[in-house]
Amino acid sequence: MEEIIAKLKSEIIAQLHFEDMSPDDIDADAPLFGPDGLGLDSIDALELILILEKNYGLKIADMEKGKQILASVKSMAEYITANK
């Protein structure tokens, strides 16, 4: 799980162009969206779904379900683990 979390953090930084950030700056439990988190927007959400699809072969057809999966790095890692 820790491995997946670490990998996800790097992938998020790369795919979403967070060039001023390092993996240590991302709290795995913190919300990714909204004012308390990384402040990701709607395009970022779609890009996160692409990470799951391209790098982990997991397709998310339902955006409502997607919102729960994308809540935090941890919830994304849990989804990946559960669907390996």
Partner: protein, 380 residues
């Protein structure tokens, strides 16, 4: 400032090859949107049959090699020029082209000069075909391009720099654009339903329309004369792909256009909205129109019939809006059954007669841009 009139329009969409044909089909409530599958993803589009374009083009006896989009532009502009009889060689007439992606379908062969992927190259090619003395102007401003092009031509005729303009907007459906909107999950798997509670996204359309703008009443000829009375653009200054959540940007454009036309919300008799069928756009528009006190004005979107025609939309939909003022009618908003926006609007559900003499046309697009134009019966 001189008044500017509009007329001699032509429209080509999946519904037909002339303004009359399109107007009748829209009034009847025809829908040109069909289902298709693209890379295993469901999509809805309103495509023009290729055979129809080639036949119409060949019928004109023009042998010049042109791309699919260029053929549409040539057919449409030729139609408008023939009826208005304005002289393109005088230098007092401008050609204003509106398009979002031009010949992007030719990107695979971009090193071939005949690909004309650079928008000005495409515009110059079209302009030369009609011997326009002035270099064509090209506006590429996402989905408001068509209204921006009309606004630009209007201002420069009013100022006296030119006397006439042919404003022509066109875009075609390509893998490039379809794949992009699918990546945004913006495309509905059912024909788009603007402002409806069950709306799921947009349907992609294609087409071309041309409209002649002029300061000379005689050029327009047939009464009643319709004036391009006021126009404005604005920016939400919020997000590059999501519209502002409060509608203030579009409201600003609407307010400025009404001020320019010297009308108030009480004078507006119909609204031709952008109405794409996406959750956010339609919601934003409902807020903007309510801010402008237009929530009770009969309103419709044409996209439920012809889809979102991008760079052509502003011109196609303006042509139809002008026609509704001329005929004193309103067109039903195809696909609307139940209100699905937070600020209810007076969405028209059946086409019919209407005391319609001042129409507001709006558009909004990626990049946070908005545009509004007031078309009014001259001498009202």
């Amino acid at each position: 400032m001189r008044k500017v009139y509009a007329g001699h329009s032509s429209v080509i969409t999946a519904l037909g090859f002339s303004a009359d044909e399109n107007y009748s089909a829209l009034f009847r409530g025809d829908c040109a949107i069909t289902n298709e599958v693209f890379h295993d993803l469901p999509a809805t589009t309103a495509r023009i049959r290729n055979g129809l374009i080639d036949d119409a083009y060949a019928a004109r006896g023009v042998s010049r090699n042109a791309t699919r989009l260029e053929k549409l532009f040539m057919l449409s502009i030729a139609d408008s020029l023939e009826r208005s009889k304005i002289n393109t060689k005088s230098g007092r007439t401008a050609l204003v082209i509106s398009t979002t992606k031009g010949n992007v379908g030719e990107l695979s062969r971009r090193d071939d000069p005949e690909s004309r992927v650079k928008l000005q190259d495409m515009a110059d090619f079209i302009g030369r075909s009609f011997s326009f003395a002035r270099k064509p102007w090209v506006i590429s401003n996402a989905c408001i391009s068509g209204l921006s092009a009309i606004a630009c031509a209007k201002e420069l005729i009013a100022s006296g720099m030119i006397d006439h303009a042919v404003v022509s907007g066109g875009d075609v459906i390509t893998d490039f654009v379809l794949s992009g909107f699918l990546s945004f999950r913006a495309i509905s798997d059912l024909p788009c339903a603007p402002f409806d509670a069950d709306r799921k996204g947009l349907s992609l359309g294609e087409g071309c329309a041309s409209i002649v703008l002029t300061s000379d009443r005689a050029v327009i000829g047939n009464e009643p004369l319709i004036e391009v009375a006021g126009c404005a653009t604005s920016n939400d200054a919020n997000h590059i792909s999501g519209p502002s959540r409060d509608g203030s940007g579009l409201y600003l454009a609407v307010k400025k256009a009404m001020e320019g036309a010297d009308v108030s919300s009480r004078d507006i008799t119909s609204v031709s909205a952008h109405g794409t069928g996406t959750a956010y756009n339609d919601e934003m528009e409902s807020k903007a129109f309510t801010l402008a006190s237009l929530q009770d004005v009969p309103l419709y979107s044409l996209k439920g019939s012809i889809g979102h025609t991008l760079g052509a939309a502003g011109v196609i939909e303006s042509v139809i809006a002008v026609e509704t003022v001329r005929r004193k009618e309103i067109i039903a908003s195809k696909g609307y059954v139940k209100c699905g926006v937070p600020m209810p609007l007076n969405v028209c559900v059946s086409s019919g007669a209407l005391a319609n003499n001042v129409c507001l046309k709006t558009a909004s697009g990626f990049g946070g841009c908005n545009a509004a134009i007031v078309f009014a019966e001259a001498d009202r």
